[in-house]
């Protein structure tokens, strides 16, 4: 299968402090990868660096996304190329409605593909279709982006956005945290419905529970900025029952 992303010996730091200390990871089309790891190990840092957040400094290594040098691209170019990050902490944007936000985003994507902007009616139809995937009330669309949304609603909104943008590679950073059982099922079903042989997903999670719904092909454990273990889906179960200590000891 085609390599969507190839991360080689990636080092990154923030405020002079090295957080990622040589990440190697390749994701192929059709795959689901899970990344687990203790708090502070660098999971969100990895996703932010891949999405192009500017306050991180990449100090070494390379990232190739669909044959292109990802690290040279701006955040919006990465999105246009098909990368999507579901934020661990989605940002609230008071004064910008969800509908205006997503319409602008969708139309910018279309512009990149030389497609005309969607009409209001076309957008509405698409939006309703995608809102249904995450069982979100259309009333959310007229509210400020994530403003006053509950934790779970914010996470559903991330998956809604993913559905609207139809990415090749989605990185979902703890999309399951803070979700009740029903919301977890809805979000996981959403992700599964969007799965195709052409795209891939990286789910970052602390809990085996999510992986019962979104079954990973490969599980990685990240610790202190390095992937210390890569295995099949049974690794998640093992982490759940035994914690991380044995893996850390094994690697050290």
């Amino acid at each position: 299968m085609e390599n969507l992303i190839e991360i080689k010996d990636l080092h990154a730091s923030i405020n002079g402090k090295e957080i990622l200390k040589g990440i190697n990871l390749t994701v192929k089309a059709g795959e689901v990868h899970a990344i687990m790891g203790p708090n502070g190990s660098g999971k969100s840092t990895l996703s932010a660096v891949l999405a192009g957040k500017e306050n991180y400094e990449v100090t070494g290594g390379s990232v190739t996304f669909l044959g292109r040098n990802l690290l040279e691209m701006s955040p919006e170019e990465r999105s246009w190329a098909g990368l999507f990050l579901g934020f661990q902490y989605p940002i609230e944007i008071p004064g910008v409605t969800n509908v205006n936000f997503m319409k602008t985003a969708v139309n910018e994507h279309r512009k990149q593909n030389n497609l005309p902007a969607l009409t209001a009616a076309e957008y509405l139809k698409l939006m309703r279709e995608k809102l249904a995937i995450v069982e979100m009330d259309p009333a959310f669309s007229s509210r400020g982006v994530n403003v006053g949304f509950s934790g779970g609603e914010k996470k559903r909104n991330e998956i809604f956005q993913m559905a609207m943008l139809n990415p090749r590679l989605a990185i979902l950073d703890e999309t399951d945290s803070g979700l009740d059982v029903d919301a977890l099922r809805i979000v996981a079903n959403g992700v599964n419905k969007l799965k195709t042989p052409q795209n891939a997903t990286i789910v970052i999670t602390h809990y085996q529970r999510l992986l019962d719904y979104i079954v990973p092909d490969i599980v990685h454990v990240l610790y202190k900025g390095r992937i210390i273990k890569t295995s099949g889906k049974e690794l998640a179960l093992e982490v759940e029952s035994r914690g991380y200590d044995w893996l850390i000891n094994e690697s050290e």
């Binding site: 999405a51 192009g52 957040k53 500017e54 306050n55 701006s74 955040p75 919006e76 990465r78 999105s79 246009w80 999507f84 990050l85 934020f87 989605p90 940002i91 944007i93 008071p94 004064g95 910008v96 205006n100 936000f101 997503m102 602008t104 985003a105 910018e108 994507h109 990149q112 982006v145 956005q161 943008l165």
Partner: protein, 343 residues
């Protein structure tokens, strides 16, 4: 009443007003000279430079009166003119004052606008300033409100070289209310100042000020707001806020609140902020494929909105919103069917 389309013949053959808003009566003032006689219920007295507009007791003018005041190349000398709006008791009117320059001459304009609002009268006033970079314009408002009257005032400075708005409001009658909202957009080397003085002279009046500024490049803006509460003006409520959004390290927003309170039973507050674009919001938007410029624009529009939101004519609100957007996109706002820059 009819809607007028202006094609002033001699002085400025190029000027034609755009399609007017619905239910609007347009009046035209060229270089300070009012071009109309009385219109329907409204009495207009022309002066040498300036005019007086009078609404009789108990009259409610349903139409929006749009008064388009332009400076033209026919007269490029410094000009002083005065206008006066009088609303007798229990009357109401809606005014839209548009201020433009039709050429890029070095205009200097001193404009005095006095507004007298009678008991129980209601005035919705919107001022829109859209002038060239070579224009210096001082607009001074002297406003008085009688008992139980209401003024909703929005002052929107879209463009102009050096604009100074002085707004003096005297709350003279018990139970009156003044809601004052300002939006100023400044880029290049533009200077925009707003000086507001609100005097609560009697008890039980409310005033609210919200001024928002968006600055780019090397623009300079100043806001100074004074709230004065007289000794006997108990149960006063007076609020003031000035927020500025800078997207350049070289722009400067000065802000100076000033409260002078001589009564003891009052609710007053003021707050001022000067901030830059929110990086987290920008990154979130960009990560969805919204380019940096569009993300910045969305943020600026969101910031500006509160200063316009209370305009209760949806069509006007929409049009001003569009003009603000065009302006923030770096276009000197004008519509498709007109060569000038009128609202």
């Amino acid at each position: 009443m009819t809607n007028y389309i202006y094609t002033p013949d001699n002085n400025n053959p190029g000027f034609r007003c755009r399609v007017p808003l619905n239910n609007t009566v347009q009046l035209f003032v060229a270089d300070g000279i009012m071009q109309q006689e009385n219109i329907g219920e409204i009495s207009i007295q022309q002066q040498e430079r300036g005019y007086t507009l009078h609404v009789e007791k108990g009259k409610n003018i349903p139409e929006l009166l749009q008064i388009i005041s332009v400076r033209t190349s026919a007269n490029t000398r410094p000009l002083d003119f005065s206008s006066r709006f009088e609303l007798e008791s229990c009357s109401s009117a809606k005014l839209l004052l548009c201020s433009h320059t039709l050429s890029e001459d070095n205009f200097a304009t001193n404009e005095n606008i006095s507004v007298e609002i009678g008991e129980n009268a209601v005035l919705d006033l919107v001022m829109m300033q859209n002038e060239h970079n070579n224009s210096i314009h001082n607009a001074k408002f002297d406003i008085s409100l009688a008992a139980n009257s209401l003024l909703r005032f929005h002052i929107v400075t879209l463009h102009g070289g050096e604009i100074t708005n002085t707004i003096n409001v005297n709350l003279n009658g018990k139970g009156c209310e003044c809601d004052l909202n300002g939006l100023y957009l400044a880029n290049g080397k533009q200077h925009i100042s707003n000086k507001v003085n609100i005097s609560h002279n009697v008890p039980e009046c409310h005033s609210n000020q919200l001024f928002k500024g968006i600055l780019e490049d090397e623009a300079i803006t100043k806001f100074s707001g004074t709230i004065l509460v007289a000794k006997d003006a108990q149960k006063t409520e007076a609020y003031q806020a000035n927020n500025n959004l800078l997207s350049s390290d070289f722009a400067k927003a000065y802000t100076q609140p000033h409260l002078e309170i001589y009564a003891d039973d009052v609710k007053c507050s003021h707050g001022a902020t000067v901030g830059s674009l929110n990086e987290d919001e920008l990154f979130y938007m960009r990560s969805r494929g919204i380019s940096y410029n569009e993300a910045k624009l969305l943020q600026q529009q969101a910031f500006a909105y509160a200063a316009l939101a209370k305009i209760n004519n949806p069509e006007l609100l929409d049009r001003l919103g569009n003009l603000v957007e065009k302006r923030l996109r770096g276009e000197f706002s004008h519509c498709q069917n007109c060569s000038t820059h009128c609202c």
